[in-house]
Symmetry: C2
Subunit: 92 residues, 2 copies
């Protein structure tokens, strides 16, 4: 019974890590391009500020709820989103 | 003790719901605009396919782990991302 429960937990975590891979890896090429070119003209400051705040709150939620996939995905996304947000504020 | 644990759970869920609000609401204006204009020329099919698959896996992870914020956020995002992905495949 305990092992069965542990197996279900493992399957859930694996699905979560695959989910984290999918949304993080699909976000990175555009984020890296924006950081390299410093071209943030297509980005809305209000919407990107809200998005970056959201990823920080997801990171806190992941840590508080003990969710490894949510924590990893949002730690990475928050770092890149923060850099882009700072660029957006500097190079308006 | 039981109440204290319940309160921590509630605070975690509230932070998660605020996180869900931030990332979902910041995603929606661009998604709605893309659906209205059917202009998907700025979107990479491979990256958007990966993103949409990621949101579906997050939805499954949210349901399996019993996380209300992860489930709600990704149910909404998956619907809009799927519509955009279908448009991308139709209007290349």
């Amino acid at each position: 019974m305990l092992n069965a429960k542990k197996d279900i937990m493992n399957i859930t975590t694996i699905i979560g890590l695959l989910a984290a891979f999918g949304t993080t890896v699909s976000f990175l090429p555009q984020a890296v391009k924006t950081i390299q070119t410093k071209n943030t003209s297509g980005i809305s400051l209000a919407m990107y500020g809200l998005f970056t705040t959201g990823t920080l709150l997801w990171l806190i939620y992941g840590l508080m709820s003990g969710s490894l996939p949510v924590t990893i995905a949002n730690a990475i996304t928050f770092i890149f989103a923060s850099i882009i947000l700072i660029y957006k504020m500097i190079y308006k």
